[in-house]
Amino acid sequence: MSKKTIEVVVNGRTHRAEVPARRMLSDFLRDDLFLTGTKRGCETGVCGCCSVLIDGEVIKSCLSLAVHADGHEVTTIEGLAVDGVLHPVQEAFVNHGGLQCGYCTPGFIMTTVAMLNDNPNPTEDEIRHGLNGNLCRCTGYVGIVESIKAAAEKLRGN
């Protein structure tokens, strides 16, 4: 198995690592960097539990090879809170019923962060459309939509 040395900035910290060419980014994050907040739910890019940001864009880390992250900046769920203060999206998910079992939550939060960066004032339809790459079995999406509306409002400074 061929290996490659990569240099990736994860949550602001530079990691240099030698990884097998076939190593998935999700495995690299979870097993090599111990960032287990990124979940694996389907390994086929459908459920969105493994969503992370690369250079601010949301991607499915179970479909990306770790070597593809070489030279890029990755943000995971562990990288959102600053000095123990929750990111507004995290806070909104806590307070508005955005989570139950919590397994899909990191993926939804990362998707939301990217969504609100692109569109700070989404309509409900835009929110729901933006969540099409993530599955949740617990909430029926109502709490998630409410959380995103609340987070958007807070991020807009209202």
């Binding site: 459908v46 998910f93 029926g140």
Partner: protein, 777 residues
């Protein structure tokens, strides 16, 4: 339970309360089974049967064993000969001799890493001698068909219940209607695939960290299967990424992993791939339901006959219990129904095994029943909501099967939903005649809160410990699978002691330390563990007050507590003492001990299942729900879209409205998924869609904003009046949608799921019938 007069400024009961572990979940810090690592940990994978029924004639593992990094390759012949299962012990830990369904676990590999384990699986060759197969329940039950289990006649179990004089009641009925309905299988679809980490310690004990709803049932099953004393097996509950019935004691990931850890010298982790999870799961049993119902001229249901044939799949598991629920439970919604004749048969087939899933047989029965009632209401010229209300069981009633209904908000649910969705105006508006046509329909539901069915104990025990810093730790044998059970327990405790929620910690279930509990099944935790938590907290309160009274020299009745302190109420305002001081005082005195209380609540219910009559009050409370759905049917494509839905849940009292709405919305969407989108598609026993691209669960975009209403009927047996609130709302949805489709286009879909193909076929048949009647005129 009666509520004593206490001050509770810090209470969260009845208030929207985030889960006590919500912050660790949004930080990505909650630890699920697959997140755990141990030094020296090995990884397991299994090879599954490609045959639905075959004799295993040879297993060739030499090449796999020779692969560097492989520690063990084990087959059914290596497993204990003892059979495992729920009631019927029917299979070994890995298949031995025979396989009975596609996906059955045949060989397990343990290796240094997952990739090596996967590579080793590819090197194993198994020789099978295919046997005749049976997939259809009707065929399975016919004499002369091959048997999935020798001597069974493929009949796993059968229920017969007769009450009153059903033939006489049919003779008196103003209208009798009979019809047949079919339901399909639903996958639990929790986002966290099953995962387990198991290891042995030097004392020979086996430790299992797993994703489970029922840690103690798991311990019992695993100990039995691996032939170890129960006391030598420890099951620890990790954070659970959803259960929905699928993580009880039927799935085999945990069992196989636990056994593998007894066969190698290092810890073993087994994480299901999603395909593993689809193939190894127990999905809900498909049922064929025939109903004959008699009503009087006012729409009062007076007679009911039901025959159900359910597909068990290859092994029984909990499917027998599920069928019992489908057969019996929905009768208890109707207060005047006294004459019933019920028959339920569960057939073995070579389909993958079916078992527990949220609603536990309720959704199947409710689909048939509510469809049937809608037909009869139309025939009688009655508004269906009016008919449902006339029949709705009330608080204080005893139902046909002996359920004592302490609280019923079914009528109120019907009113709330009717108002919420605008039933009257939508029902009377002119029918759409274009390509897209709207329609509206109703469904109703009953569910238990607890169910006495195991060893005549349906109790729950909570241990409350006060640390020397005055904080409280609760221990329970029930499990939080994401529904918020631990938050509910903390709320009950904080309420009784008048302390902030943050002062209460609830420990995940660990069978070495937690009190025994059946676990999180049958919507039992709120009513049973909630009462136990209240009882435990009240005893803690009593002990604190007694000690404080001694210490402060103030009579107990002059003391109260708030924010972690006991204080004297009026005469001496400065007299107060912190909980921490009292907790220390409780220990450090002659004859003292740490402040720890064990309290058990076992409800006043009856083990009806153990009697031939199966009559009696099985649960301390019954939850009810009603749901209306407005759909839009595209008559060109056959697509059905739910435009709006309103569901009301009578949960007695919403201890945490945030959690109740969350559960209700989640259950309603799971119901929509079952009705419209989700189906385990099999071809000769082979699952064709074992992934989330092809097994299509609802996305945010595919469902409307679920409107959820709460009805508080105040259950006398409930903690502060509460009953279960996690399953009821999955029950009524499919019927509401089917009834709405009928209202929209005049096509009644009696076989779930409601697919575009069935809609278009129904429209064609309707058109053909119209053309024929036009031609004959």
């Amino acid at each position: 339970m009666n509520k004593p007069e206490i001050s509770n400024a810090f209470t969260t009961v009845g208030r929207e309360t985030p889960q006590i572990n919500a912050i660790e979940k949004v930080l990505g810090k909650a630890v699920y089974s697959a997140d755990m690592k141990m030094a020296g940990m090995l990884h397991a994978k299994v090879l599954r049967s490609p045959h639905a029924h075959a004799r295993i004639v040879g297993v060739h593992t030499e090449e796999a064993r020779a692969l560097p990094g492989v520690h063990a390759v084990l087959t059914g012949d290596d497993t204990p000969t003892r059979m495992t299962g729920i009631h019927h012990k029917q299979h070994r830990i890995l298949a031995a001799g025979k396989v009975r369904f596609i996906g059955e676990e045949v060989v397990a590999v343990v290796a240094e890493d997952e990739e090596t384990a996967r590579d080793a699986i590819d090197l194993i060759r198994v020789d099978y001698e295919p046997l005749p197969e049976v997939f259809d329940t009707g065929e399975a039950l016919r004499a002369g068909t091959i048997e999935v289990h020798d001597g069974s006649g493929n009949l796993a179990c059968e229920y017969n219940v007769v009450r009153g004089d059903v033939d006489a009641a049919f003779a008196q009925a103003a209208l009798v209607h009979e019809d047949s309905y079919e339901t399909h299988s639903q996958y639990a679809g929790y986002m966290e695939p099953m995962a387990t980490l198991a290891w042995r310690t030097s004392d020979g004990r086996l430790h299992i960290l797993t994703s489970t709803q029922t840690a103690f049932l798991q311990r019992m099953r695993i100990a039995d299967a691996v032939e170890m004393p129960v006391s030598k097996v420890r099951v620890i509950q990790a954070t659970v990424g959803g259960g929905f019935g699928g993580k009880t004691a039927e799935e085999c990931n945990s069992l196989i992993c636990a056994w593998l850890a007894t066969r190698v010298d290092r810890p073993v982790k087994f994480v299901n791939s999603r395909l593993d999870d689809f193939q190894g799961c127990r999905s809900s049993p498909p049922e064929k339901i025939w109903i004959k119902m008699g009503v009087d001229k006012d729409g009062i249901i007076i007679a009911k006959e039901v025959k159900i044939v359910a597909d068990c799949g290859a092994y029984e598991g909990l499917a027998g219990h599920v069928l019992q629920v489908s057969t019996v439970r929905s009768d208890n919604m109707h207060r005047y129904l006294k004459n019933v004749r019920l028959n339920g048969k569960l057939a073995y087939t070579n389909n993958p095994p079916h078992g527990a899933l949220r609603g536990f047989g309720g959704p199947q029965a409710a689909f048939a029943l509510n469809s049937h009632i809608a037909v009869m209401a139309e025939k009688l010229g009655l508004d269906v909501v009016e008919m449902l209300k006339r029949n709705a069981i009330k608080s204080g009633d005893t139902s046909v099967h002996g359920f004592q209904i302490g609280s019923s908000g079914l009528s109120e649910c019907l009113d709330q939903v009717s108002d919420g969705i605008g039933w009257d105006s939508k029902k009377t508006r002119p029918k759409d005649i274009g390509v897209k046509r709207r329609g509206i329909g109703f469904g109703t539901a009953i569910h238990v809160s607890g169910n006495r069915e195991m060893g005549n104990w349906d109790g729950s025990t909570v241990i409350a410990k006060m640390a020397p810093d005055g904080r409280v730790t609760l221990m329970t044998g029930e499990c939080d699978m994401g529904q918020g059970a631990f938050t509910m327990l903390a709320q009950c405790c904080a309420h009784e002691l008048n302390i902030p929620l943050s002062q209460v910690t609830v420990l995940p279930t660990d069978t070495d330390m937690s009190p025994y509990g059946h676990g999180s099944i049958a919507s039992r935790v709120t009513i049973l563990a909630g009462n136990a938590a209240i009882k435990a907290a009240r005893e803690v309160r009593e002990r604190l007050l007694t000690l404080a009274s001694e210490k402060l020299g103030v009579p107990k009745e002059d003391l109260d507590m708030a924010n972690g302190e006991v204080f004297a109420k009026s005469p001496a305002p400065n007299q107060k003492i912190p909980f921490g001081d009292l907790a220390r005082l409780h220990i450090y005195r002659a004859g003292g001990e740490a402040l720890q209380v064990t309290a058990t609540y076992d409800p006043p219910t009856f083990l009806a299942m153990a009697t031939p009559e199966q009559y009696g009050n099985v649960a301390p409370g019954y939850s009810f729900a009603a749901q209306a759905a407005e759909v839009e049917v595209d008559t060109e494509t056959g697509q059905v879209r739910v435009l709006e839905t309103f569901v009301s849940d009578d949960c007695g009292k919403a201890l945490n409205p945030l959690a109740v709405h969350g559960q209700t919305c989640g259950a309603a969407v799971m119901g929509i998924g079952w009705a419209l989108y989700e189906q385990m598609r099999y071809e000769d026993g082979r699952l064709l869609n074992g992934n989330f691209a092809d097994y299509t669960m609802p996305t945010a975009d595919s469902v409307p904003y679920i409107q959820s209403g709460i009805v508080e009927s105040m259950e006398p047996n409930g903690p502060y009046g509460a009953k279960g609130a996690s399953e009821t709302a999955i029950v009524p949805g499919a019927a509401a949608i089917a009834n709405a489709v009928y209202d929209a286009i005049g096509v009644r879909i009696k076989t779930l799921p409601i697919t575009p193909e069935k809609i278009l076929a129904g429209l064609r048949a309707k058109q053909a019938a119209q053309d024929a009647s036009g031609a004959s005129r």
